[in-house]
């Protein structure tokens, strides 16, 4: 990571994800702005030159669902290591969830996170808690939190159980047009489940979490979004029934959106046959039918965003008996590769549509400025070689944790640079 003085990116294919156009050009960056797009005489250019033939230039990717663990569990991840993983994955923005220790339910923690991210290339845009201590009882000082830099609210991981509290939270957040993000899980139905409830959980003798545990809370949130008019976003949607509920609610005009993770698209419950704790996540990996429904949801626009739910856990915590392991996997460095290799190559989405869900769509939901690749605009973009493949080696991850289910897998799309805030990061190959 270093500051940009004068940078010329030669012969690059610019992908305009909003206008859905591609053009080949040279791009000059001066400090933190795009200075010029067009033909540039590189022989007389005084500054860094990147020959970007075969590269794509995309509006900076943003992951609206990550866990950076700082403050509290710096052994698992820090803001710095999480940002390093984000850059390696092609991201210029991340939204960390508030389940830190202490939890991000007050201005002080928001300021702490923003201060520690100041010198980072990656925009760290905190999501604050819906309720104090994420305990589900009293709503947080949402207006103050929004003013201090929180971009959305969520009690991710411990969803608000009380319907009246959720209603008040939506009404209050709605005053400042903030997004409420919900991890939908009925705590009683999910109970002590560790994987999807189905034939596989019966085979493995592991307590299951039924699709209905998610579906019921998605239905609740749709009802409350309709009632309050607040914009509500369903995190990591996993069950086919939930996708159908969101589809119908959108048709009706309810302000609802949702995201899917790459692991819910790539793996299913059968993959747990060896009790691999790196495939233990919440919501759990579902069935082939659910995956088909998630793909349909992406195709018809029911699913707005792809996000990683990057959830670092230490080796000691994951290398234990299945029931004792925590839920979650890391994913910032692999999400782009999985999306290109699985979602695009399997023709679920075109490249433009897939990348839109990793860049433009999340920013629109969060009311963040969308990076424009035009002269005079802030330089916020990612440079990738889309056709190159690479093999995931978890030992080389920039994250402080190693809990990746993709280790050893071949993925497509190599990140060659990310640019934001007047800084450039390039990997050392």
């Amino acid at each position: 990571m270093k500051p940009i003085d004068q940078l010329l990116i030669r012969n690059v294919e610019i992908m305009d994800l909003v206008g859905r156009q591609r053009e080949k050009a040279d791009v000059v960056i001066c400090g933190d702005r795009i200075d010029k797009i067009g033909q540039v005489d590189f022989e007389t250019f005084a500054g860094q030159i990147i020959d970007a033939t075969d590269h794509l230039l995309l509006p900076g990717l943003i992951d609206m669902h990550v866990h950076l663990r700082e403050p509290g569990r710096e052994d698992e991840e820090t803001i710095e290591s999480g940002c390093a993983a984000a850059m390696a994955g092609g991201f210029t923005g991340v939204c960390p969830m508030p389940n830190t220790e202490p939890c991000c339910d007050n201005q002080e923690v928001v300021r702490f996170i923003k201060k520690h991210a100041e010198t980072q290339l990656v925009d760290v845009l905190p999501i604050a808690a819906i309720t104090k201590g994420r305990a589900g009882n009293e709503i947080t000082e949402m207006v103050d939190l929004a003013r201090s830099g929180a971009v959305a609210f969520s009690d991710d991981g411990s969803p608000v159980r009380n319907n009246a509290v959720m209603r008040r939270a939506m009404e209050y957040a709605g005053m400042v047009d903030m997004l409420i993000i919900d991890h939908c899980e009925d705590a009683d139905l999910a109970a002590e489940g560790h994987m999807n409830e189905g034939e596989m959980s019966t085979r493995l003798g592991v307590a299951g979490i039924p699709n209905a545990a998610e579906e019921i809370q998605v239905a609740r949130d749709i009802s409350l979004a309709r009632l309050t008019g607040c914009r509500v976003h369903i995190a990591h949607i996993s069950a086919r029934e939930s996708v159908e509920l969101v589809r119908r609610a959108k048709q009706e005009g309810v302000p609802i959106s949702c995201e899917v993770t790459p692991h819910h698209l790539l793996f299913c419950e059968q993959d747990l046959v060896d009790y691999d704790t790196n495939l233990k996540m919440n919501p759990p990996l579902r069935s082939a039918q659910d995956i088909a429904a998630l793909e349909d949801g992406l195709k018809d626009g029911t699913i707005d965003v792809i996000a990683s739910d990057h959830a670092p856990h230490s080796v000691e915590e994951k290398d234990v008996e299945f029931a004792a392991a925590p839920f979650g996997v890391i994913g910032l460095e692999t999400i782009l590769g999985v999306v290109l290799h699985q979602i695009v190559d399997r023709q679920v989405l075109s490249m433009e549509e897939a990348l839109y869900r990793l860049s433009i769509a999340p920013r629109r939901l969060l009311k963040l400025p969308v990076p424009q690749i035009h002269a005079g605009e802030p330089a916020n973009f990612s440079l990738i070689k889309p056709k190159d493949t690479w093999i995931v080696d978890v030992k080389k991850t920039r994250s402080r944790s190693r809990n990746s289910p993709y280790d050893g897998m071949t993925l497509r799309g190599v990140v060659t640079a990310v640019v934001n805030k007047g800084l450039i990061w390039q990997p050392n190959f």
Partner: protein, 310 residues
């Protein structure tokens, strides 16, 4: 013939030939157990650790006795999961024990998959003595040995498992073993204690005891954990007994020579009435005797033993 795996993690994937080998070997050991000195030097010099992370009396004693009858050195490690949680990880525990040079581990744990997890941590052979709601293979083997002894065969028999199927690792292993051996299996219990999609194993499922009674050659009556009622999985012991309790009166609906098994310990008057448990239908004490023989056979075969014992 020998066993394909170095471990016995469950009966999933264990072939009919292998199960038959274990049962035949068990019969040889049973004969040894009836001698004046019921002990053989087969595992002399081998060390077996009984690693019990859940309270157990009969399974641990049965294994320990089997090990002693084979002249193995045995060590018991008994603890509750919670106290281990506070201290070192399971991986550290097992690797420390293995560093003392052991050959085999017998493990019981509340988390399904733990025996498989242990095979990735150590080189010793691992025997599953019950993992969560998953499998308890030696129990199913001793159940099958007892059935075969009493009726003379397993293939073609109709075996009903009665009670809390969902939480039962005994059922988990019995279903797999019995189907492999060519028996038909019916599961009978309240829907709240029946696992999801279990019919996909190729078993019959009923919620009505009468149906199971009329159908079965053998009834394997499972222990009902009384704490399941606290979780609201059935309304009362009274109603459970009324619907699924095996009484002499209800046995009039069953085949005349029906065989009754129970993995123990029995809740007398709940899933099984005393006069049934102590009747001629019951082979419950034979199961206990056979348990030692079956465990000797498993220990012996997994230690690389040749099927001809002497």
């Amino acid at each position: 013939m020998t066993l394909q795996s170095r471990h016995l993690l469950g009966l999933e994937g264990v072939s009919r030939e292998e199960i038959t080998l274990i049962l035949d070997t068990s019969e040889s050991f049973k004969e040894i157990l009836q001698r004046p000195i019921p002990k053989v030097p087969t595992l002399r010099g081998k060390t077996v650790v009984n690693l019990f992370f859940e309270p157990s009396t009969r399974t641990r004693i049965s294994f320990e006795l089997a090990e002693k009858r084979l002249t193995a050195d045995t060590v018991n490690f008994t603890t509750s999961s919670s106290s281990v949680k506070k201290g070192e990880t399971l991986k550290d525990t097992i690797r420390n024990i293995e560093a003392m040079n052991i050959d085999m581990v017998v493990v019981r744990h509340s988390a399904a998959g733990t025996p498989l997890f242990l095979t990735r941590c150590v080189d010793a052979a691992v025997i599953n003595a019950g993992d969560g709601m998953h499998e308890h293979p030696t129990q199913a083997l001793l159940d099958m040995l007892t059935i075969r002894e009493r009726i003379g065969k397993i293939a073609g028999l109709k075996v009903a498992l009665i009670g809390d199927i969902a939480h039962s690792r005994v059922a988990g292993s019995n279903i797999r073993g019995l189907l492999t051996m060519g028996a038909e299996v019916m599961l009978c219990g309240p829907k709240t204690l029946m696992p999801m999609f279990v019919e996909r194993f190729g078993v019959h499922v009923t919620f009505h005891l009468e149906e199971a009674l009329e159908w079965a050659d053998c009834l394997n009556v499972l222990r009902i954990q009384l704490e399941r009622q606290d979780k609201g999985l059935f309304p009362s012991i009274r109603e459970y007994h009324k619907l699924y309790g095996i009484t002499l009166e209800r046995l009039e609906q069953a085949k005349r020579d029906v065989v009754i098994l129970h993995p123990g310990p029995i809740n007398r008057g709940v899933e099984l009435d005393s006069d049934v448990a102590d009747s001629d239908y019951s082979v419950i004490l034979n199961q206990v005797t056979n348990g030692v023989a079956v465990r000797m056979a498993v220990l012996y075969l997994l230690s690389g033993g040749n099927p001809s014992i002497e």
